[in-house]
């Protein structure tokens, strides 16, 4: 999970250096975060609809 924060670290460095790839990399980081969330969705929710 440290990879999420490594990606955010690179995003911040890109912001400081005014790099054009910041917005695409931010989107990639958000998708990666969502993927990690999905991988952790192992327990069923206690909902009985």
């Amino acid at each position: 999970m440290v990879s999420m924060f490594v990606l955010w670290f690179i995003v911040f460095i890109g912001v400081f250096l005014r790099k054009g790839w910041v917005i695409p990399l931010t989107l990639v980081t958000l998708v990666w975060t969502l993927l990690l969330l999905r991988l952790h969705m192992t327990d069923p929710l206690p909902l009985n609809f």
């Binding site: 924060f5 490594v6 670290f9 005014r18 931010t26 958000l30 969330l37 327990d43 206690p46």
Partner: protein, 238 residues
């Protein structure tokens, strides 16, 4: 001057940029307050973050990217859009964790603050952020200026804004490094074992007051001085 003209003058042109920047700095400090609370629980009390908590922290850091870019690059709609998307990702983690503990009688995960668990507070933060960004997007005036960020802002404001930005960066580094001993380079355990905290008072001092804030402020003063030495073009109004 009638009231409409006075309002138009106050909330347009260079003023619109100044007000937007101020709102962005305040939002960034509010977000840092929330992150400081979670770091206080981690280092002060010893409550290690769960995987879903880390997902929400990632959303919080993503949320901070919008204001940081607004301050450093200039006010842009795309920066608010990034914050909205980050808030949605973070909210997905919060909602998942709320639903896991939705059953009556479930004590929830971790300590409750003012009756609500951290993941519930996180969801409230993300929802407020989405509403806040939407409200800022309704206001066209700041986007009509060719704002280039705080590079040419007044010195005192630049120091305050840079302090918030470096503070956010420092928290990102602390959070990132603290994940390694807990999870290594892979996935984190679902229910991490807690560590011995440094105590309530010590936790706040270590994480918030003395270390990080002082470092961020010192760095902001140094960078501000460098920017002052460069000077500014004559045509910049704000």
């Amino acid at each position: 001057m009638d009231v409409k003209s006075a309002v138009d003058t106050t909330f347009s042109g260079a003023n619109a940029v100044r007000i937007s920047r101020l709102i962005n700095v305040l939002a960034l400090f509010a977000l840092l307050g929330v992150l400081a609370g979670s770091l206080h629980l981690q280092f002060g009390i010893g409550e290690q973050p769960c995987p879903l908590c880390l997902i929400q922290r990632s959303g919080m850091i993503g949320l901070a990217v919008g204001p940081v870019m607004n301050l450093m690059w200039g006010i842009r709609a795309s920066h608010y859009a990034l914050s909205i998307l980050a808030a949605m990702v973070g909210a997905a983690g919060s909602i998942r964790q709320i639903l896991l503990h939705i059953e009556p009688g479930d004590p929830g995960y971790g300590p409750a603050i003012w009756g609500l668990h951290l993941y519930t507070w996180a969801l409230i933060t993300f929802v407020i952020a989405i509403i806040g960004c939407a409200v800022m997007l309704l206001w066209d005036a700041p986007f009509q200026e060719k704002d280039q960020g705080i590079r040419y802002a007044k010195s005192w404001f630049r120091v305050v804004a840079l302090t918030a930005i470096f503070w956010a960066f420092a928290y990102l580094v602390i959070i990132g490094i603290s994940v390694i001993p807990e999870c290594g380079l892979g996935m984190c355990p679902d229910d991490p074992s807690n560590i011995a905290g440094v105590g309530d008072f010590g936790g706040w001092l270590a994480v918030l007051s003395v270390g990080v804030l002082a470092l961020a402020f010192a760095l902001a003063v140094v960078v501000n001085q460098k920017l002052s030495d460069i000077g500014e073009p004559a045509d910049v109004e704000y």
